[in-house]
């Protein structure tokens, strides 16, 4: 069975008259970097909340369908158990970092599991090292830059060694270089540790190049799912084409480009140079 297995999940928040998820099915495996996009209100955050059981345990409402994460049935597993399998990182660092030092922040989740202090210490040391946070371990999270804060947030959930990392617009408030650093960090976790990452991000031009898979949602449903290039080509009218893709499509109309769409400026430039070379040299 897949690591994440959603089948026909429908969910309506208590007091709401429409389904925020309306028959969403998704199955994802270790090592994937899934980019989750779609218009505001289409249910992206709700979908991530299903993974660690915030829906339907923390947010109550009508839940239908089947949701299994790491083999556990979400409906009958409490969030604190799912938290060991799903690390969740949110948009606003301020609301997810609580403690007075980076070190304690990383220890917090482990403490919560009731692990003995020596074990917690050992894991904290490892995580500080792995995420290169040793030099700032005594600093208070609120003194750090936005990018560093998000890195600490990721490190603090990764301390629980989850197989799944769910990030809800983790870079929305970050400057582009910090955003790229965060996305590369997530990418490294997927390729080196086999973590499954699900990332919600509106800025495709930043995130696409990291994704191994793209999922597009609309009105609580998954309307496209597959390789980023194919999905983007089909759903550009919903999610918008990045500038390099627009250029490619314009050139293609004139017969000056072919093949799959570029995701980065490098790819576009290479295609143009190739074209130019075959024509004129």
């Amino acid at each position: 069975m897949a690591l994440v297995e959603l089948k026909g999940v429908r969910f309506r928040y208590a007091g709401s008259d429409r389904y925020a998820l309306d028959g969403a099915s998704l199955s994802a495996e270790r090592g994937e970097f899934v980019l989750l996009v779609g218009p505001s209100g289409c249910g992206k955050s709700t979908l991530l909340r299903v993974l660690n059981g915030l829906v339907p345990h923390f947010y109550e409402g009508d839940f239908e369908g089947e949701a299994r994460v790491a083999g556990l049935d979400v409906r009958s597993t409490p969030t604190h158990v799912l938290a060991r399998h799903v690390g969740m990182v949110f948009q606003d660092p301020e609301n997810q970092l609580f403690l007075s030092s980076v070190e304690r922040e990383i220890a917090f989740g482990l403490e919560n599991l009731g692990l003995p202090r020596a074990e917690v210490r050992r894991r904290v040391r490892e995580v500080l090292k792995e995420f290169n946070l040793e030099s700032i371990k005594d600093r208070a999270p609120y003194e750090l830059s936005g990018g560093q804060q998000q890195k600490v947030a990721i490190a603090s959930v990764m301390a629980l060694e989850p197989e799944i990392l769910a990030l809800d617009e983790p870079t929305a408030n970050l400057d582009p270089l910090s955003a790229l650093e965060i996305l590369s960090l997530v990418k490294r976790l997927t390729s080196e540790k086999g973590v499954l990452a699900l990332v919600v991000e509106h800025r495709l031009e930043l995130a696409l190049k990291f994704a191994t898979r793209m999922v597009v949602m609309l009105d609580g449903r998954i309307v496209a799912d597959g390789a980023p290039r194919d999905v983007l080509l089909r759903t550009g009218s919903i999610v918008g084409y990045p500038p390099v893709v627009v250029t490619h499509l314009l050139l293609k109309r004139r017969g000056l480009a072919e093949g799959s769409i570029p995701l980065t400026s490098e790819e576009l430039a290479r295609a143009v140079i190739g074209r130019w070379a075959t024509r004129y040299s």
């Binding site: 909340r49 660690n52 915030l54 923390f58 969030t79 604190h80 158990v81 938290a83 060991r84 799903v86 690390g87 969740m88 949110f90 606003d92 301020e94 609301n95 997810q96 609580f98 403690l99 007075s100 030092s101 304690r104 220890a107 917090f108 989740g109 403490e111 919560n112 599991l113 009731g114 692990l115 003995p116 202090r117 917690v120 210490r121 904290v124 005594d138 600093r139 208070a140 609120y142 603090s156 959930v157 629980l160």
Partner: protein, 261 residues
């Protein structure tokens, strides 16, 4: 008065003997200092107490933060002084000065504690003393979000003002009404924030284990025992001096020394 006044209670990370003290030892110290501030009632001994507190702040390398926040508190201090001075029948200057000093000593006692103790050390101390983790966490959270709340308040007020709204306009009644415009977005936002925070807590496995061993290893060391002993002795001494009447005659002597006040 601005949020800046609260800085007098905001932790600053420093390497000093006072910062390194166990939070429980600092708590006993806080109790002793506050009790002394409340028990003493003449300007001379309260000044002496303030001097002791200033010395402690110097050890904690925090005199500057304290002094800076005092500037913000000065209006309040003046107000206390003026109110006492204007309403008292006799001994006006003497008592008004003592009351102002008492407030200052008390504030400083708390300031010493909070400037040198992090919220989570405090929470750990509470947990070790048997307070359930939910409550100690609640405590940490409420301290943690004071600056955020202050910042939100500022932003909402800024937004309101830049919509041409004048908060300080009109009579008292109107001003109170003006402030309700400020409160609505603030309350809505803080509610939203509390949900976001709760979500993040859940996602970190909060509440998973019944029994939790705090990360901070709180065990009293020699210097903590010394601090506790000194504070306890000082506390007993103050209580004895006041209860035995020695203090009363001292105050009378001081009074006699300044008959013109």
């Amino acid at each position: 008065m601005s949020a800046r006044v609260l800085d007098i209670f905001r932790f600053r990370r420093k390497r000093t003997p006072l910062h390194a003290l166990d939070p429980r030892a600092k708590f006993v110290m806080l109790v002793a200092l506050s009790a002394a501030s409340l028990a003493l009632s003449d300007a001379v001994s309260l000044s002496a107490l303030l001097a002791v507190e200033a010395a402690l702040l110097a050890v904690a390398k925090s005199l500057r933060e304290w002094a800076r926040s005092l500037a913000g508190l000065s209006t309040l201090l003046l107000l206390i002084f003026a109110l006492n001075f204007l309403t008292l029948p006799a001994d006006r200057l003497f008592v008004a000065a003592a009351m102002t000093l008492r407030f200052l000593c008390l504030t400083t006692a708390f300031s010493i504690f909070f400037l040198t103790t992090t919220a989570d050390e405090l929470a750990a101390a509470l947990e070790v003393s048997g307070v359930p983790r939910e409550y100690s966490m609640m405590f940490t959270m409420s301290l943690r979000f004071v600056p955020s709340l202050a910042r939100d308040l500022q932003t909402v007020a800024d937004a309101l003002k830049s919509r041409g709204f004048e908060l300080e306009k009109g009579g008292l009644k109107e001003r109170v009404r003006n402030y309700t415009y400020l409160l609505v977005p603030l309350i809505v936002y803080e509610l939203r924030r509390s949900i976001m925070v709760a979500e993040a807590l859940e996602a970190r496995g909060f509440g998973a284990a019944k029994k939790v061993e705090p990360y901070v290893d709180l065990s009293l060391r020699a210097r903590d025992y010394v601090a506790i002993a000194v504070s306890a002795i000082a506390l007993c001494a103050v209580i004895w001096v006041v209860a035995s009447g020695v203090y009363g005659s001292f105050v009378n002597q001081v009074r006699a020394y300044f008959p013109q006040l």
